[in-house]
């Protein structure tokens, strides 16, 4: 799926969001507000996407919080959300971001809220090997 096609789907699903093209890298930056539940805050989320690469999802506002100094589960380097595994063929660039990455982000935020309240991650998932570096983790997953 081309970058402009992704952009048009994103705009259609989230009319109030903003999209900027990055022509030199054949990519885009999406910024929008997501509220996973009615009693959730409205999270400002940014997705950096370069065709052929893993969409890079960060929460800008409100800033994500640690729980008693514990790291937030299922993140790359406590910065980007880890939403899927290439290994399980869950995502490739033929899929619409507004129908995959964004719903998964909402789901992630839901479980993050539960984790922040209780200390337990109830959304399942997998963890990389202990000795893998972050870079290696992101690449090995392919």
């Amino acid at each position: 799926m081309t970058v402009p096609a992704q952009a048009s789907c994103l705009k259609q699903s989230f009319p109030e969001s903003t999209i900027k093209y990055n022509r030199t890298h054949n990519g885009l930056t999406w910024k929008g507000r997501l509220r996973p539940t009615a009693m959730s805050p409205s999270y400002l989320v940014r997705i950096l996407y370069v065709l052929g690469e893993r969409p890079n999802v960060t929460v800008i506002d409100p800033p994500l919080e640690n729980r008693n100094g514990e790291c937030i589960p299922h993140m790359f380097g406590q910065k980007r959300l880890c939403l899927f595994r290439y290994k399980h063929d869950e995502w490739d660039s033929s899929m619409r971001i507004d129908r995959t990455i964004i719903p998964w982000t909402c789901l992630w935020l839901f479980y993050y809220e539960i984790w922040l309240a209780t200390g337990e991650w109830r959304g399942g998932g997998e963890h990389p090997e202990m000795n893998d570096s972050e870079q290696k983790t992101e690449q090995d997953d392919k």
Binding site: S13, F14, P15, E16, G32, R33, L34, R35, P36, T37, A38, M39, S40, P41, E65, C71, P73, H74, M75, F76, C82, L83, F84, R85, H88, E90, W91, D98, R99, T100, I102, P103, W104, T105, C106, L107, W108, F110, Y111, E113, I114, L116, A117, T118, E120, W121, R122, G123, G124, G125, E126, H127, P128, T137, D141
Partner: protein, 370 residues
């Protein structure tokens, strides 16, 4: 985002809270098995009580479906009536002692037996305790009415546990029919097949709030029978738990009757009995009751505008107990996970809000990373 959606979500959280407060189906079945065994022991042919034809049956919260786990520990109350259908004219103390003797003839029961003022307690440590109250049929009134010893074992007091339970059940006839229709449509009966109504859940929430607020001053705590009676009278068959709770809390004071200028809560099955007798000797208790209800209303309303599960949990914990609230939140999360794993989950475009009604179905994904 409409207030309605927030109320709906808050209702879901409160439903999980009441599930967490409730006796589990397996605990309930276990208690039922055990009290039936006690009943058989008491009625064993040829034994001490056999000629009196004792029958054992549950009364109170376990019968009404409004039992709550205690704030500390796990032991909940199972209140039982031991109605002796053919009791000769014996005094209250003798009747009570006969039940005690028969129970202590059983080696297992003897170890668990504790004497209370007017009943016997079998303590199943760590699980529950059964209070067995001796009773005789009230032949004048009939209709399941019984006579039970008073606390001083001096008099027979009128009681009607079966009548009260059916009165309480009558208060839920409309909502039960509505819920049965709804569940028939979506073919999604809860695994135990037991549908719990907003009234039962609301009573549990009220009782737990009472248990937490009056933890260190239990003498001032409103009685369960007062809470249950006023709540049932105020209930209007509302299906949404949060709305039902607010209606009940607001409606309860209006259900208090006045007898000779004194506030009273009459037994709906026996208007001669005032559940709020203590309010007469100690009018301050009535005031405490009103203030307690008002505080619950304010506390619940103040949760509604909070955002984020951590903030909601922080508000609910001092109201209902930190451990219970935390477990209720996990129950709530696991319901979401169940919808996800069964493919029911959808995301609304524009807002990103998750639900099951409409929107983009969620594809399978695996969260990864540290």
């Amino acid at each position: 985002m409409s207030d309605l959606m927030q109320e709906k979500q808050f209702s879901e959280i409160l439903e999980n809270l009441s599930d967490e407060l409730d006796v589990t189906p397996s605990q309930y079945e276990d208690a039922e098995r055990k009290y039936k065994a006690v009943g058989e022991w008491l009625a064993t042919p040829g034994s001490l009580l056999a000629d009196f034809r004792p029958e054992i049956y549950p009364q109170g919260s376990i019968k009404l479906g409004t039992a709550v786990k205690p704030v500390e520990g796990n032991e909940f109350d199972v209140d039982l009536v031991c109605e002796m259908k053919a009791l000769p004219l014996l005094d209250q103390k003798t009747v009570k002692d006969l039940v005690g003797v028969r129970l202590s003839n059983n080696e297992n029961y003897r170890k668990m037996l504790q004497e209370k003022k007017r009943c016997w307690r079998l303590d199943y440590a760590g699980q529950f305790h059964m209070d067995i109250l001796p009773a005789r049929p009230d032949l004048h009134k009939g209709n399941g009415c019984v006579l039970v010893p008073d606390r001083d074992l001096k008099e027979w007091k009128e009681s009607n546990p079966k009548g009260y339970a059916s009165w309480f059940e009558d208060r839920m006839v409309v909502i039960r029919a509505k819920m049965a229709r709804m569940y028939a449509e979506i073919e999604d009966l809860p695994d135990n097949g037991r549908l719990r109504t907003p009234l039962q859940r609301a009573v549990q929430i009220l009782k737990r709030y009472r248990d937490v607020v009056f933890k260190n001053k239990q003498d001032n705590a409103p009685l369960s029978i007062i809470i249950t009676t006023l709540a049932a009278k105020a209930y209007t068959n509302e299906a949404d738990l949060f709305i039902a709770l607010m209606e009940i809390i607001q409606g309860m004071p209006r259900q208090i009757q006045y007898i000779n200028g004194q506030p009273a809560v009459l037994n709906p099955t026996n208007p001669a009995e005032n559940f709020a007798e203590k309010w007469i000797s100690n009018p301050e208790l009535y005031e405490i009751f009103r203030q307690w209800l008002g505080a619950l209303r304010r506390d619940l309303l103040s949760v509604l505008p909070r955002r984020g599960m951590a903030a909601i949990t922080e508000d609910l914990s001092p109201m209902f107990g930190e451990h219970t609230v935390s477990k209720a939140v996990l129950r709530y999360a696991d319901n979401m996970e169940l919808r996800r794993s069964t493919g029911l989950l959808r995301m609304t475009s524009g807002s990103g809000t998750l639900g099951t009604m409409a929107g983009t179905p969620l594809r399978k994904n695996t969260f990864f990373g540290d």
